[in-house]
């Protein structure tokens, strides 16, 4: 049981960190770019919001499989096999949770407008400098929302995990799978403990986020 909890936390933390790293420039680009084909990228990023996780998992499995071109490339170049491994889960989670991190950050960047960046430019800040010293701190609430949503969605994912990760203890058996397992085996006590823990944990996480946002809102308002 502890194994599943730790694995889930490890997966969600790693996924969130990766998403913040790749989501930030992506969100900035989506917020600033004016070209028409930006919407295509935007739609691709948003796809996991509407796609059934099993469909996403199915395609990911196909792409990652050792028989596919991509799978062969991964195996030969990095010596990695993704299906039914922890690494595969991370890749799947990153794709699955991408919109939940990118959207709030993008909204925060858009809400900034161009004014603070222009002000910073007249105060001698180079483009990178003004991104780091002005855009990032001012978009902080968006980063908080994105991180919390990304983390929570990764913790809660089931379909994608089942499709590409299966149910290997210590490797791919995360909480949601463990709960499913317990219910299947009529182990109600364990299912109750895990589900109750998830419920309380999720509630506390959202509550904490809202309290922090409120505090920042008072500071910045």
């Amino acid at each position: 049981m502890t194994e599943a909890i730790l694995l889930t936390l490890k997966l969600a933390t790693l996924t969130t960190l990766i998403l913040l790293l790749i989501g930030t420039p992506l969100a900035w680009w989506l917020a600033r770019n004016r070209s028409w084909w930006k919407e295509i990228i935007n739609a691709l990023v948003a796809l996991p919001l509407v796609l059934p996780p099993t469909v996403l998992g199915f395609y990911l499995l196909l792409v990652m499989s050792p028989q596919s071109t991509f799978g062969v490339f991964l195996k030969q170049t990095f010596g990695v096999t993704l299906p039914f491994t922890f690494e595969g889960l991370v890749v799947g989670s990153v794709i699955y949770s991408l919109p939940f991190v990118v959207q709030p950050i993008r909204n925060a960047f858009e809400a900034l407008g161009s004014a603070p960046m222009e002000v910073a430019a007249t105060l001698r800040a180079s483009p990178l400098d003004r991104f780091l010293s002005v855009a990032l701190p001012l978009a902080r609430p968006g980063f908080l929302s994105g991180a919390v949503l990304g983390f929570a969605h990764t913790v809660g994912e089931f379909g994608v995990v089942l499709m590409i990760g299966g149910n290997l203890p210590g490797e791919t058996k995360v909480l949601s799978i463990a709960i499913y397992d317990h219910v299947e085996s009529l182990e109600w006590t364990q299912a109750h403990i895990l589900s109750g823990g998830m419920l309380a944990g999720s509630f506390l996480l959202i509550l904490a986020m809202m309290l922090i946002e409120k505090r920042w809102g008072r500071l910045n308002g």
């Binding site: 222009e118 007249t122 001698r124 910045n220």
Partner: protein, 380 residues
């Protein structure tokens, strides 16, 4: 003399800019015109915030834009004050102030400059405050100080007062006038408010529909018969007077203007200092003879140069001060009836009667700004 030379021709959105000018880079130059005439666009082009492909721009010979050369905004030695103060919400006042300083390579928070400027702008007690706790006027003063602390070579101000309510405007105006008197660097000041121009500007670039309509010294532009200022119902004359002496017995200062002298209540400063006078056309009346029976202190001989319709029941009579009309231009508002009964005509010699109380100098200028100021003996 140092010069700001600019040439911007081209489309910005659905708006066409076609402006070329070269002005001495000193004092305050107002970019004046109605909303949508291109003032802000021009200022943004000068700052490099908007890029017109075929523009060219140089300050004192340093090229900021020409052909393929385009110095990005953050590498131009400018200070920019926006309409909205634009203080960074995540930084407190002192960190807002030092944001630009540090990047301009000027030492940090305990410098004498910072100390002096924050005192001058009346914000030295606010340094540790969060910017959300400031009033609109305080925010704009911090923004102005923040721009000046970088020691820019030119200060660009885009309607810095227009986002403020009247109280905040009145609060900030004296600070701007102080700056005007003390600043060494040239200022470009965008505004559509004529009162701000009268109080602050030394020189005007008059814009209309993206083009330059006229440019010149403030005193000249306000009284030029071919421009709308002189024929406005609330027209004013703006002129610079040199303090000649102070009469302690009556509490009156004597100011020398081009073609005469004026007596103004109050001490206006030491002898030799130049003061700006603002005389409303409605505070000037005309007499055919020198009339000592009235309480009006200042009577100047003048010659009628032009009579301008205002669209109202009054006409604006444009005068030249002096027996031969050799001095400053002066506007007088006279009813059409008076013009007919007095039979006022161009070229006629009259006496301009100026109500002393209307001559309160609004500010000090440390240097003479009108080049054609010639010493003459007083007539009034």
């Amino acid at each position: 003399m140092s010069t700001l030379a600019a040439c911007f021709k081209g489309q910005v959105g659905d708006f066409r800019l076609d402006i070329e000018f070269s002005i001495p880079a000193q004092g305050v130059t107002a970019l004046f015109g109605p909303s949508g005439c291109g003032k802000t666009t021009l200022l943004r082009c000068i700052a490099g915030l908007t890029r017109l492909p075929d523009g060219s721009l140089s300050l004192n010979g340093d090229i900021w834009q020409h052909g393929r050369t385009f110095v990005p905004t953050h590498k131009r030695p400018i200070g920019y004050v926006f309409q909205e103060p634009g203080l960074f919400a995540h930084l407190n006042v002192i960190n807002n102030l030092t944001y630009g300083m540090r990047r301009a390579g000027i030492a940090g928070r305990d410098t004498q400059d910072l100390e002096e400027l924050t005192r001058l702008m009346g914000i030295n007690h606010l340094l540790e405050r969060r910017v959300q706790a400031l009033s609109g006027g305080e925010k704009q003063r911090v923004a102005i100080a923040r721009a000046l602390l970088m020691k820019p070579r030119i200060l660009l101000m885009d309607e810095p007062l227009s986002a403020l309510d009247q109280d905040n405007k009145n609060e900030i105006m004296p600070y701007l006038e102080q700056l005007h008197a003390q600043l060494e660097i040239p200022v470009l000041y965008v505004t559509h408010d004529r009162r701000e121009v009268e109080r602050l500007a030394d020189r005007i670039l008059l814009l209309r529909n993206g083009a330059l309509l006229a440019q010149g010294e403030i005193g000249e532009i306000m009284t030029r018969p071919d421009l709308p200022f002189a024929s406005a119902q609330d027209a004013v004359t703006v002129l610079d007077g040199k303090v000649l002496h102070f009469d302690a017995r009556y509490g009156l200062s004597t100011l020398q203007i081009d073609g005469g002298s004026l007596e103004v209540p109050d001490t206006l400063g030491p002898t030799g200092v130049y003061k700006r006078l603002r005389i409303a056309a409605t505070d000037v009346s005309l007499a055919l003879n020198l009339d000592h029976s009235s309480s009006i202190l200042n009577r100047l001989p003048a010659v009628i140069w032009k009579i301008l319709p205002t669209g109202g029941p009054s006409l604006n009579v444009l005068l030249r001060v002096g027996n031969m009309g050799e001095g400053n231009a002066l506007l007088a508002s006279v009813t059409r009836k008076s013009v007919e009964t007095m039979d006022l005509r161009t070229g006629q010699q009259v006496y301009a009667q100026i109500k002393g109380a209307s001559l309160l100098g609004s500010q000090t200028t440390s240097k003479p700004r009108t080049q054609h100021m010639t010493p003459t003996t007083g007539h009034g």
